[in-house]
C-alpha cells in the first residue's frame, strides 16, 4: 500500500504537468478548431529559458517565472500570426504541418543555443523529500501539484468572471455570432494561442528540475498531453485536468508494477481505443453533424 501511494502520488505530479499542457490544446481548439501541434516544444522552450535564467544567470525562480510567462506569451502571439492564422483564414488544415514545422525549428535552435547535452536544474525548494505519513514526495512535485491547482482555478476564474474570459467562451460557442456582438474574435483567437504557449511555458518551468534541461525535453510530454486532451475531449477543460491526473497516476503504477517499456504502448493504445468508443472524448458532448 505504501508503495502504491508513493508511485501514484509522484505520478499525479507528472499528470498535473500533462494537464497544464493539455489545457492549452483545448483553449485554442475551442476558439479556432485548430491547435498548436508542437506545444511540447514550447514546454521545452519554457524549460530551457528557466535553465538559462536560473542556472546560467542565477536569477531567483520567482523572478524567472514571470519572465518565462511573458516571453512565451509574446512568442505565442507571433507564432499564431505566422503559422496558424494564414492557413485558418484560407480554410485549410495544413496548420498541422506548419505548427509542427515551428516546433522543429525550435528544437534545432535550442540545440544551437544551448547544446544537446542534458543539464540538471536544481529543484526550486531543495532536494530533500518531505514525508506525508510514511509516503515521501519531492518538494518540487508538491510545488507542481499546487501550481497546477492555482493555474486551473485562475483559468476558471478568468473564464467565468472576466470580460475577456467571457469573450473566449462566446467565441468558443460561436465565432460568427460573437463577431456580430462586437467581440474582436481575431484578438480572442490570437490570445488563445498566446495563453496556450504561456501555459506550456509554466509547465516547462515546473518540470525542468525533475527532468533535465535538453532540447528534446518537451517532445514526449507534448504528445502525451495531446493524447490526454483527446481522451478527455478537446472541448472539456475540466475533464482534461482530471484525465491528466489519472493518466499520470496510471503511468506511475504501470512503471512501478509492470515495467517502464510497456507504459507508452499501453497509454497510446488506450487512447486509440478510447477515441474509437467515444470520438468526442470522455467528458465531451456528442456532436451531431450539421448539413
Amino acid at each position: 500500500m505504501y508503495f502504491f501511494l508513493q508511485i501514484a502520488l509522484s505520478g499525479i505530479a507528472t499528470g498535473a504537468i500533462y494537464g497544464l499542457i493539455a489545457v492549452g490544446y483545448s483553449l485554442t481548439f475551442m476558439t479556432t478548431k485548430a491547435l498548436n501541434f508542437a506545444l511540447g516544444m514550447w514546454v521545452m522552450f519554457g524549460g530551457m529559458l528557466t535553465y538559462s535564467l536560473n542556472v546560467q544567470y542565477g536569477i531567483h525562480p520567482l523572478i524567472v517565472l514571470p519572465i518565462v510567462i511573458v516571453t512565451l506569451f509574446a512568442f505565442g502571439l507571433v507564432a499564431e500570426r505566422f503559422s496558424v492564422y494564414p492557413f485558418l483564414r484560407a480554410g485549410s488544415d495544413v496548420w498541422v504541418m506548419s505548427t509542427l514545422a515551428v516546433g522543429f525549428l525550435m528544437i534545432d535552435l535550442a540545440e544551437i543555443i544551448w547544446g544537446r547535452n542534458p543539464t540538471p536544474v536544481p529543484p526550486f525548494l531543495g532536494k530533500n523529500p518531505v514525508y506525508i505519513g510514511s509516503v515521501s514526495i519531492l518538494p518540487q512535485q508538491l510545488l507542481i501539484i499546487a501550481a497546477a491547482c492555482v493555474v486551473f482555478l485562475g483559468l476558471d476564474f478568468f473564464y467565468r468572471r472576466t470580460l475577456l474570459g467571457k469573450a473566449f467562451r462566446a467565441v468558443a460557442h460561436s465565432s460568427d455570432v460573437s463577431s456580430l456582438m462586437g467581440i474582436n474574435t481575431r484578438r480572442v483567437e490570437a490570445m488563445s494561442y498566446a495563453v496556450a504557449a504561456a501555459l506550456a511555458g509554466i509547465a516547462g518551468f515546473l518540470v525542468v528540475p525533475l527532468t533535465l534541461a535538453e532540447p528534446q525535453l518537451g517532445t514526449v510530454l507534448g504528445l502525451k498531453a495531446f493524447a490526454i486532451a483527446i481522451i478527455a475531449g478537446l472541448a472539456a477543460p475540466r475533464g482534461i485536468l482530471i484525465c491528466g491526473l489519472f493518466y499520470g497516476a496510471f503511468e506511475g503504477l504501470v512503471s512501478g508494477y509492470l515495467y517502464t517499456g510497456i507504459r507508452d504502448i499501453l497509454g497510446f493504445t488506450i487512447m486509440i481505443v478510447a477515441l474509437y468508443l467515444r470520438p468526442e472524448g470522455i467528458f465531451g458532448k456528442p456532436q451531431e453533424e450539421r448539413a
Binding site: F29, K33, A34, L35, F37, S83, P86, F87, A90, S92, D93, V94, V96, M97, S98, L100, A101, V102, G103, F104, L105, I107, D108, L109, E111, I112, L223, F226, A227, I230, L234, G261, I262, D264, I265, F268, T269, M271, I272, V273, L275, Y276, P279, E288, E289, R290, A291
Partner: protein
C-alpha cells in the same frame, strides 16, 4: 501536349535507367534506390493524404511493418535449402511484409477513420509511436534497439542482385506503383476518393459508405508503404527502430506536400528533392530540422500545390471520365423511367436539448407527386429533411417507404433506399468537373471492384463509357451539357444549383428531397427550375420540395404541407393551403390575418 508529356516521361525513365552507368559510382546508385523506395512510400501516403485528404503522421509504422516482416521471415526461410537456392525466401518476405502492413492498416483504420482532422493526426502519431516502442521492447522478435542485421540480399534464382541490379528492380517497382496510383485515381473509384477530400457528407448523400471507402483507401496506402518498407529492408541489410521514428513519418508527409499533394508525380519529386538536398549541403545533419522546417513553411506559404503545382499546369482532363469526352456519343436515350415511392412520415418528433424542433409530425407524400414542405424559418423543415435523409435520428416516430418501415440510420442508408437529397448550402467538390459530379452520383450502382480499377479491365472501361453516356443525357435534360468539362465551383450560381441536382438525380432516386433549390436564383432561373422539377415528375420521381419561394411552390406542387413551431398546421392542395388562416397567420402574424 499529350504527346510531349509522353515523350518527356519516356525520356525521364531512360535517364533514370541510364543513371548508374553515367555516374558510375555505387554511391549514386544507392541514393537512387533510396529515392525510389521513399517515393513508393510517399505515393502510398499521397493517395491517402493528397487525394483523399486524410492526414497521416504514422506512415513509417507501416513501412516498419513491411521491413520487419520480410527481415524476420526471409532470414528464417533462408536456412531451408529450397528457398535459399531459388531466392524465393526474399520475395515471399516481400509479399508477406506488404500483406502484414495492409492488415495493420485495417486495424488502425477502423478506429482512426471514425475521426478526422487533428484527431486523426493524433491517432496516427500514437500508432506510429506504439509500433516504434514495440520494436524496441519486443527484443526476442525484433532485436530491440540493436535491430536486425544480415538481412538476406535479394536474389533471382541463384543470382544475387548487386546494387545496380537491385536499382533496376526498385525502379521498376516504383514505376509499377506509379501506374497503380494512376489507374486507381482515374477510375470511378478514384473520383470518389478525390471527392471525400472536399465533402464527405455529399459523398454519403449519393449512397456511398464513406467510412468504408476511407478504410479501403487507408489500407491501400498502408500496403504501398509496407511494400516500400520490404524493399528498404533488403537494401539496407540492417534495420533498427531508429529507421522508423516519428520524424520519418513527418518526412513522408513533407515530401507529399512539398512535391505536390494530390498530383501523380509530386510524391516522387518531393522525396527525391528532400533526400538529395542533404547530400549537397555540408554540416547538414546539424541543421536538418531547421532546413526541413523552413521548407515546410515556405511550401505551405508559397507553393500550396507543391512543386508539381508550380511546373505543371493542372490538366482539366484528369480522369478516365474526362478521357471519354474526347469520343462522341450520338445515342440519345431519354432518362429511364422511375417508379416514385410513397413516403409516409408517422408521428416524428425530435428535440435538441430542451428545444423541441419537431413534435408528432405526420404526413404522406404520394408516389410520383411533387409535395412541398413550407413554413417560416425555424419551423423544423430542415430538421425533418435531415431526419428523412439520415443525418439526424428521430426521437420518436418512424418513416415508411411504400408502406413498409424504413430503417434510416445514415445518409448512405437513406440513399440506398431511394431517398436522395440536395443541400441548401451547396456541397460541391472543388476542382472537379460537372460530369465528374454526375459520375459520383452513379458510383452507387457501380459493379466494378478495386481489381478492375487497378488493371483497367474491360468491364471497368465499358462501365465508364456507359455511365458517361447516361451522365451526358442527364446533363442534356437539365440543359447544362455544354458545361460538362467545367470545374463545378467555377460555374455561375444557378448552374451550380443544377449540378447539385444532377448529382442527386444520377443516383436515380425514387424520392428526391430538394432543400431550398431556388435560394439565390433569379426569376428566370426559377422558371427553368420549375420546368426541371415538372420533368422529373413526368419521369415518375417523387419529389419533396422544401422552399420559401411561394411562386415556385404554388406553381409546381400537387400538395403542400405547412410546418410551424415543429408541428403540421396545414396539409392540402395549394389552392386550399394559400387560403388557410393559420398558414397566413404563421407567415404574416395573427393581426394581419384578422385584417
Amino acid at each position: 501536349m499529350r504527346g510531349a508529356n509522353a515523350w518527356l516521361g519516356v525520356l525521364a525513365v531512360v535517364a533514370l535507367a541510364a543513371m548508374p552507368m553515367i555516374t558510375g559510382g555505387t554511391y549514386y546508385t544507392y541514393l537512387g534506390i533510396i529515392v525510389c523506395i521513399y517515393g513508393i512510400v510517399a505515393i502510398g501516403l499521397n493517395i491517402l493524404s493528397g487525394y483523399a485528404g486524410q492526414f497521416s503522421l504514422g506512415h513509417s509504422a507501416f513501412m516498419a511493418m513491411g521491413a520487419y516482416t520480410t527481415a524476420i521471415l526471409s532470414k528464417s526461410l533462408a536456412s531451408i535449402t529450397f528457398f535459399g537456392q531459388t531466392g524465393l525466401h526474399v520475395w515471399i518476405g516481400v509479399v508477406c511484409g506488404t500483406i502484414i502492413a495492409a492488415m495493420s492498416g485495417v486495424i488502425l483504420a477502423i478506429p482512426a477513420l471514425r475521426v478526422r482532422g487533428p484527431y486523426l493526426a493524433m491517432v496516427t502519431i500514437a500508432f506510429g509511436w506504439v509500433i516504434w516502442k514495440i520494436l524496441q521492447e519486443w527484443v526476442s522478435l525484433t532485436g530491440g534497439d540493436l535491430g536486425i542485421s544480415s538481412i538476406p540480399k535479394p536474389q533471382i534464382g541463384a543470382l544475387r542482385l548487386d546494387t545496380q541490379a537491385f536499382y533496376y528492380v526498385v525502379l521498376a517497382s516504383l514505376l509499377a506503383i506509379l501506374a497503380l496510383q494512376y489507374r486507381l485515381i482515374t477510375s470511378p473509384f478514384g473520383i470518389l476518393i478525390r471527392a471525400i477530400k472536399h465533402s464527405e457528407i455529399a459523398v454519403a448523400s449519393v449512397g456511398i459508405d464513406v467510412y468504408r471507402l476511407k478504410v479501403i483507401v487507408f489500407v491501400i496506402s498502408a500496403a504501398f508503404a509496407g511494400f516500400g518498407g520490404t524493399l528498404f529492408a533488403h537494401q539496407q541489410n540492417y534495420i533498427s527502430p531508429d529507421n522508423f521514428q516519428f520524424f520519418s513519418s513527418v518526412f513522408f508527409l513533407l515530401a507529399v506536400l512539398f512535391g505536390g499533394a494530390g498530383t501523380m508525380l509530386g510524391p516522387i519529386v518531393g522525396a527525391g528533392v528532400l533526400l538529395l538536398l542533404p547530400e549537397m549541403l555540408h554540416d547538414f545533419d546539424k541543421y536538418r530540422l531547421i532546413v526541413y522546417a523552413c521548407l515546410i513553411l515556405l511550401t505551405l506559404y508559397f507553393l500550396p500545390k507543391g512543386i508539381m503545382g508550380l511546373v505543371w499546369r493542372p490538366r482539366r482532363r484528369q480522369s478516365a471520365v474526362a478521357e471519354m469526352a474526347a469520343h462522341s456519343f450520338d445515342e440519345i436515350a431519354t432518362f429511364p423511367a422511375i417508379v416514385g415511392a410513397e413516403l409516409q412520415i408517422n408521428n416524428v418528433s425530435r428535440a435538441f436539448g430542451g428545444l423541441v424542433a419537431l413534435s408528432d409530425v405526420s404526413f404522406r407524400v404520394a408516389g410520383g407527386s411533387i409535395h412541398a414542405l413550407i413554413g417560416p424559418n425555424g419551423a423544423g423543415k430542415t430538421t425533418l429533411i435531415n431526419i428523412v435523409s439520415g443525418i439526424y435520428r428521430a426521437d420518436n416516430g418512424n418513416i415508411h417507404i411504400d408502406g413498409s418501415e424504413a430503417r434510416i440510420d445514415s445518409m448512405h442508408m437513406a440513399a440506398r433506399q431511394g431517398i436522395v437529397r440536395t443541400f441548401q448550402t451547396l456541397k460541391l467538390f472543388a476542382d472537379m468537373t460537372v460530369i465528374e459530379h454526375v459520375m459520383i452520383g452513379m458510383a452507387r450502382h457501380s459493379r466494378i471492384g478495386l481489381w478492375d480499377a487497378f488493371i483497367n479491365s474491360r468491364r471497368a472501361r465499358e462501365e465508364v463509357a456507359q455511365n458517361f453516356r447516361e451522365a451526358r443525357n442527364l446533363l442534356r435534360m437539365l440543359g447544362i451539357e455544354h458545361l460538362e468539362q467545367v470545374p463545378a465551383t467555377s460555374l455561375a450560381y444557378g448552374h451550380r444549383r443544377l449540378v447539385e441536382i444532377a448529382r442527386a438525380l444520377a443516383v436515380r432516386p425514387r424520392i428526391l428531397l430538394l432543400d431550398e433549390p431556388a435560394a439565390g436564383l433569379v426569376a428566370e432561373e426559377v422558371r427553368a427550375l420549375a420546368e426541371v422539377i415538372r420533368k422529373l415528375r413526368k419521369i415518375g420521381m417523387t419529389i419533396m420540395l422544401i422552399e420559401h419561394h411561394m411562386e415556385l411552390v404554388l406553381s409546381v406542387s400537387d400538395r403542400i404541407t405547412v410546418l410551424d413551431h415543429g408541428a403540421v398546421i396545414a396539409d392540402g392542395l395549394p389552392s386550399d393551403v394559400r387560403r388557410d388562416e393559420r398558414v397566413i397567420a404563421a407567415y404574416l402574424g395573427p393581426s394581419r390575418a384578422a385584417a
